[in-house]
Symmetry: C2
Subunit: 427 residues, 2 copies
């Protein structure tokens, strides 16, 4: 069977964990001139590219209050209730991420603390196209509001009639986001990074997008605008043992595979029998899916790996560092202690990735491409800076001053020493 | 008087807050070939560049245990005690940054939490040259140890005899850091990013360096290696009102100015009388400094600003977003409520920047160049990923499943819906 590996040795792991390389640098030639043009010519350039790339003639960039208010009437009540439920859960979990100030007396007379302060101007990019990703707006807008960001700018492309999807507008209204611009693509990233007549420049840009948007985010990041994280195609790793339910594992793998033909899917199972059973279920379920061509293409470069030893299995999964990791086992909580690298972990047979994608409460903006080794997903932390404070009393500087003087001198920094000496001399 | 501005209008603020632009891209031509050579040829290439750039012939890259053990005998006892005091304070403050796991029940049967897990392989770059920056090693090594990083790699250049400064080695030993490589410059960043025969590749690189090191960090960052933060010259903003002590303010400005001719120094005072008094003190103190030429050159591009209104003063300082911000006022704590953007804040007349540079307990690796608008300084957070978890019971999926089904369908993702449906149907 293709794509199946049984107890692969460690020398094979790096190759098995490899994601397809995508050369964003190759897009620079297309993206850089658009960024420069928007920086130089503002709204006019944004409108020009909207016409050129998105085939839409925009007279206004800002979505009107009337359009926002009208959106609610275009969304079905059941969907509204579902969005409200998701919002409540995401809010509850993200509220718990707010850091309480702790004042630490490190030495008598020396008090240190840190305070989370919202990034004032943030930009949220919500892709449009065939699927209106209002769930991503929940995942970015809710922590931005909890953090207390002063000015939340949102960009999302309109259709060719200049209309923005009403579910996205309804969700924005629910979150209290008012600065909504109906622009997408590189021109939207450029507008948020540099500012235009209509759009305030932001300090940090969040959100997923196609390869051009990703390249644009990386390029403005080099010029000093922060971004949420480096991006790559979405991916799912599943660990399944004999207590897993193959039909559920198959459904989870398919839910990742339908995202796009470049989606990454990886199953590590404790026996070949499990892989066989999951593959059988995939074949049954795949045919029912409207996006079956996409899912089938993604599955072609998926990997099915037997690891009879669970420690090896998790060592391998740590090397992979999956964006989403499902542990399909009745023993999931205990097994999860072995995980060192992952974006978000789904425990047991009743925690599908879909739950976290929409409504469990965790964030779905997560590190892909192995970045989970060093990066975290989006959280309230992503929307704040943690500023440190120190306050020394006269006694405090008497207590630590002599140590500072010695260390500054040893580093050859006499003026650093003098800033202490001049104070201590007068005490 | 040059560099003095009285109540500048808002239209001038952006220009007054501007840092000198440094074009790291211009260094790419020098840095990229070194990165590529080390990636391809490992230790051999590292040794070649050590000979070429640092004029040192290295037979071994790893600092020997004997050299590390010998270092302690070469450091004066008073300096050892000072380093121990600093270590204790830094440790106390950074220990308070460890996040406790909170399990949040977002809906009956749905539990979410996040866990901080150390980044396994991290690299610390400690510059050598004239000043041995052992304080930077404290600032990076202590949070790395608290986070629980498995493998802490440290690179620091040797002198031309292949010896590393003993204070740096003593500090490393005190922190329990054993993997010390006596290499510097671009070749050190390349070795940590890509790994060599002697050096394990790391997931994140920390530490300051010259313009080549900075450019190398930015370039490996594009290839997926995380870095602590984008870098620029060190800088200090001071707010002083009539309760400030001009001699102390002058000493603090000089302590920043002595770092390098490109250091940034900015004083915002509530009256011209304060600026006059501070300038007078600068003239008196400057002559006593061994690095007076450097400090004088840095002061040439410093700015002295009178802001009679304290709200304007702090609005301006928020636009500047200083790496270090001293509030030289008896009213500092209250005034600090107005600060939105800064790396670290020093409150009152007895909290000089030197205190935080070495021993108060806060971290001295901080965002420069206005990055404090979106970035935080180094903390324990910088050495961990925060992995999220969710665990749904059967009741949990019954409770939130229908909402997920509706939302997935509205986003056109049928397989996402099916991952829920297949489970609910059997319950």
């Amino acid at each position: 069977m293709e794509n199946v590996f049984v107890n692969p040795g460690k020398e094979q792991w790096i190759a098995l964990c490899k994601r397809p390389a995508f050369d964003y640098a190759a897009l620079e030639g297309i993206v850089l001139p658009v960024l420069a043009d928007v920086k130089a010519n503002g709204d006019e350039a944004v409108k020009k590219y909207a016409a050129q790339f998105d085939k839409v003639v925009l007279t206004e960039l800002l979505v009107s209050e009337a359009a926002i208010n009208e959106a609610a009437s275009l969304v079905h009540d059941d969907l509204k209730k579902a969005i409200q439920l998701a919002k409540n859960n995401i809010q509850l979990f993200h509220e718990s991420q707010k850091e309480v100030i702790q004042k630490i007396s490190t030495t008598d007379g020396v008090i240190c603390w840190r305070k989370s302060v919202a990034i004032q101007n943030v930009g949220l990019y919500i892709p449009g196209g065939t699927a209106p990703l209002f769930s991503t707006l929940l995942m970015l807008g809710i922590p931005a509001q909890i953090a207390g960001c002063n000015n939340i700018i949102m960009c999302t492309p309109s259709n060719s009639d200049g209309q923005v999807n009403p579910v996205i507008l309804y969700t924005a209204q629910l979150l209290g986001i008012k600065n909504i611009y109906k622009i997408g693509g590189v021109q939207a990233i450029a507008a948020m990074a540099h500012g235009t007549e209509s759009i305030v420049a932001v300090s940090k840009i969040f959100g997923p997008g196609n390869q051009y948007v990703t390249a644009a985010k990386q390029l403005v990041n080099r010029e000093g605008v922060a971004i949420d994280m480096p991006a790559g195609p979405s991916e799912l790793g599943v660990y399944a043992d004999e207590t897993a339910i193959p039909a559920y594992v198959a459904a989870d793998l398919l839910s990742q595979a339908e995202h796009g033909t470049d989606s990454q899917v990886l199953l590590v199972a404790s026996s070949m029998a499990i892989i066989d059973a999951v593959k059988e279920q995939i074949n049954i379920q795949l045919n029912e899916l409207p996006r079956k061509e996409i899912a089938a293409a993604a599955l072609k470069h998926s990997r099915f790996i037997v690891m009879e030893n669970s420690t090896d299995a998790f060592n391998f999964l740590n090397e992979y560092a999956a964006e989403h990791l499902i542990i399909a086992s009745e023993n999931a909580l205990e097994l999860s202690e072995k995980v060192i690298n992952a974006g978000s972990i789904f425990l047991g047979n009743y925690s599908p990735e879909s739950a976290g994608d929409y409504a469990s409460g965790t964030n779905h903006t997560l590190p892909t491409n192995g970045y989970a080794k060093a990066y975290s997903g989006v959280s309230v932390d992503s929307f704040v800076k943690k500023i440190t404070f120190q306050q020394l009393s006269k006694q405090g500087i008497i207590n630590i001053g002599p140590a500072v003087e010695l260390m500054a001198e040893a580093e050859g920094l006499q003026a650093h020493k003098n800033a202490i000496t001049i104070r201590i001399k007068q005490l």
